[in-house]
Symmetry: C2
Subunit: 443 residues, 2 copies
């Protein structure tokens, strides 16, 4: 509807227009790969920057600056002649007339690529969605960082042990990579950082709980990885609750599957994601996890000019009945195949099918420890941690960011310090009760 | 009133308690200087970090990360045995019963030091206070950064030239150091950065206006400094309006003294500050600029146990009828004298009087240019810029921050780049009209 009075003002350059929706790993890689293709590339994103999601948990735990893991699109593609960017949200698509409706106007496409990724899946539990923290955006990370630090300032003022423990205890729901990594980072804060900052508090009172509904941690990885990560976390004092669930959370108290209750001011929800398909696409194209069913050429079921890559797309084949894992590597590999196929379409050549090369997966569990699966090779511990660091460092967008992250990591490693223990802005603090307010509530 | 149900939980360690209100340059230096004094030091601040205000304008103009110019108090003083911190605002003082009332409870003091600095002075103009940007806090800086970048994204969508220019034009009110430095930084963005980011826009359309009510820029500095800074800014295309004022601003249009109007979405208010004296202090102690009248021993008029240092205090003598300039150096020098005097009081020794050693003042005007006054020595240009950088670098709190700032500066200098062109969070964007909303307004 905005189209009535706003115009995206994307010029018609007389070339086929490829609209890319979302600048995550898939979208970013696709724009780059279309560099040399004779098309107009238009990227829409709600942010003016790419976010390196795998390290959001380090921002949340004061390990990294926000600016080290986000990168402005215009800086990245400033020199790319065929690149256009608009800051806005794509709201719907008209597949007959071939245009998208966005928050900043309507725009015709010749080829539409959906790379919008996923959002946190609260499985319809509104109370949890309202009161919990998640880790999908840089805002989420800053909000959680503010909350963690403010928790300790408030713990100092707590009128009784229960209230103090509610501020100091953490529940992480979901034992996947995100849950494991945030638990490890919180344990590092508990064991190495906060004792220096809060001599008035007994940090042994800080409990970190990980709740996993499956029968082990890191279900997406190997048994070894799962067992070792649990061993590492327990060594650091993290309490693991396997085959358990959180069924309710009101911001003060969480309820477990068996009805037991636990007080905490901070519940971190890392228990699954769901895609958000664009309005205007047929229901038939939507499969499990709200992903879009695409063929091996990444074309959305029923369309030749609409594609989906990354987490939102599911290449449904006999080998992959549920599509590929929702990780960066498949998204980036799909982006490169798609760029080639768009070139092929323009040249009336046959399309290439996508085949996923699984390079393995990994997760870090605090200082000096990680778990890595690489095909047959499965290893854990210090060397795995080193591999984890190297792989992530190399994947970060932008030389300066890579440099900043390396510096911060070296600094933290040798100084046993986290430099960014900052409460900045009121992001995520709106819902943070000040002690006086609390009292009013009770009254 | 919070004291009724919240307790600051500061233990009584059986030593004289010095409450320091505000962790700016003065407060920080005082806490440090009291390190070896046999007292309990309690710092109250609304933030959990010190802010290096002189570089806020570089955060606002994407030159520096927020984290490079803020520093957590607990990290700074973690090893200082007599240091206690509470995150909260001091609301009032009871001088009879000798306690302060804070947002996190009441607390008795033996010695109270007010170092709360100043807030922006809008001279009672509510519309300007509501719609303009200022540069006193890290939140201000991030809000302005978000706004500047969003302005250009919105300029791309502007339906007509007037609207586009309103997004691209800037009015800076106040030709003091802050106004001059932000103008210079905006000019750098206009000339070197944004042309790369926005090939679709003609950056010559970006106008930067500085409005100064006095008869020249940098009234606090020498004539040479004022003249040169104006010359530097005009070379960069900044328009200077001397002996002029902004009398009204509604968020869309600013009105000058002579009634002429100018459209802009961004008015930056750097036209003066005012102190905010604590409730409970006698009116007689409040002088020009809402500062507290203190004697050369920094005792607030009428008290022996309440002190004021930095911008909020005014040492009224025949030589300094209006107190000392509201800058970091006097604040820090006062902090050191006061620490000695508190020691002297405890030892029943006579108090030392404060004498300001003026080390000079400086301002930078974009790349390679600055103006410096050092007593008889007044110089401008490249060497002055070098001195400016060195002095600021050395004054930054924390080795890592110093290192990060140096790295960022070197990076920007050699790459002609600003790495932090980011819109993060919705800080300061609440009031940012989205194109659709705008239209509704018009309708």
């Amino acid at each position: 509807m905005n189209a009535n009075f706003v115009d995206t003002r994307i010029p018609d350059v007389g070339k086929p227009r490829v609209i890319v929706v979302g600048g995550g790993f898939g979208g970013l890689e696709l724009v780059k790969a279309l560099r040399s293709v004779d098309v107009q590339v238009v990227l829409f994103d709600k942010n003016n920057h790419h976010t390196f999601q795998p390290l959001l948990y380090q921002v949340a735990t004061s390990g990294l600056e926000t600016t080290s893991i986000v990168y402005p699109f215009r800086k990245k593609f400033g020199k790319q002649r065929n690149f256009y960017f608009r800051l806005g949200e794509v709201l719907s698509v008209n597949t007959q007339e071939k245009y998208v409706q966005t928050s900043v106007g309507a725009l015709h496409y010749d080829y539409l690529v959906l790379a919008t990724g996923t959002i946190t899946n609260f499985h319809g539990m509104q109370d949890i969605a309202k009161h919990s923290f998640s880790l999908k955006t840089i805002q989420d990370a800053v909000a959680l960082r503010n909350r963690i630090i403010k928790n300790f300032e408030l713990a100092l003022l707590a009128p009784d042990d229960e209230t103090r423990n509610a501020y100091m205890d953490y529940i992480i729901v979901g034992g996947g990579p995100t849950g494991v990594e945030i638990a490890g980072a919180l344990a590092e804060l508990k064991n190495r950082i906060f004792p220096k900052d809060y001599p008035e508090l007994d940090l042994l009172e800080m409990d970190i709980h990980v709740v996993e509904s499956g029968d082990r941690l890191l279900g997406v990885m190997s048994d070894e990885a799962g067992k070792k990560s649990q061993e590492f976390l327990e060594k650091m004092g993290v309490k693991i609750h396997i085959k358990n669930r959180i069924t309710a959370y009101n911001g003060e108290e969480a309820t477990f599957l068996d009805g037991t209750k636990m007080r905490t001011k901070t519940l971190i929800w890392a228990a699954g994601v769901t895609a958000k398909p664009l309005d205007g696409l047929p229901k038939e194209s939507i499969v499990r996890g709200n992903r879009l069913k695409v063929n091996p050429f990444l074309q959305v079921e029923g369309f030749e000019d609409i594609f989906a890559i990354g987490d939102i797309g599911a290449v449904i084949t006999t080998e992959t009945p549920n599509g590929h894992p929702q990780l960066a590597p498949p998204a980036m590999q799909q982006a490169n195949i798609l760029a080639k196929n768009i070139k092929n379409i323009l040249a009336h050549k046959p399309l290439k099918a996508f085949h996923y090369k699984d390079k393995g997966s990994m997760a870090t569990v605090g200082r000096n420890r990680a778990v890595v699966d690489m095909g047959k090779f499965k290893f854990q511990g210090f060397f795995a941690w080193f591999v984890w660091m190297f792989v992530h460092l190399m994947s970060i967008v932008g030389f300066k960011n890579r440099f900043l992250v390396l510096m911060s990591w070296m600094w933290s490693y040798f100084s046993y310090d986290r430099s960014n223990r900052l409460i900045i802005g009121n992001l995520g603090q709106e819902d943070l009760p000040e002690p006086p307010k609390e009292k009013e509530k009770e009254a």
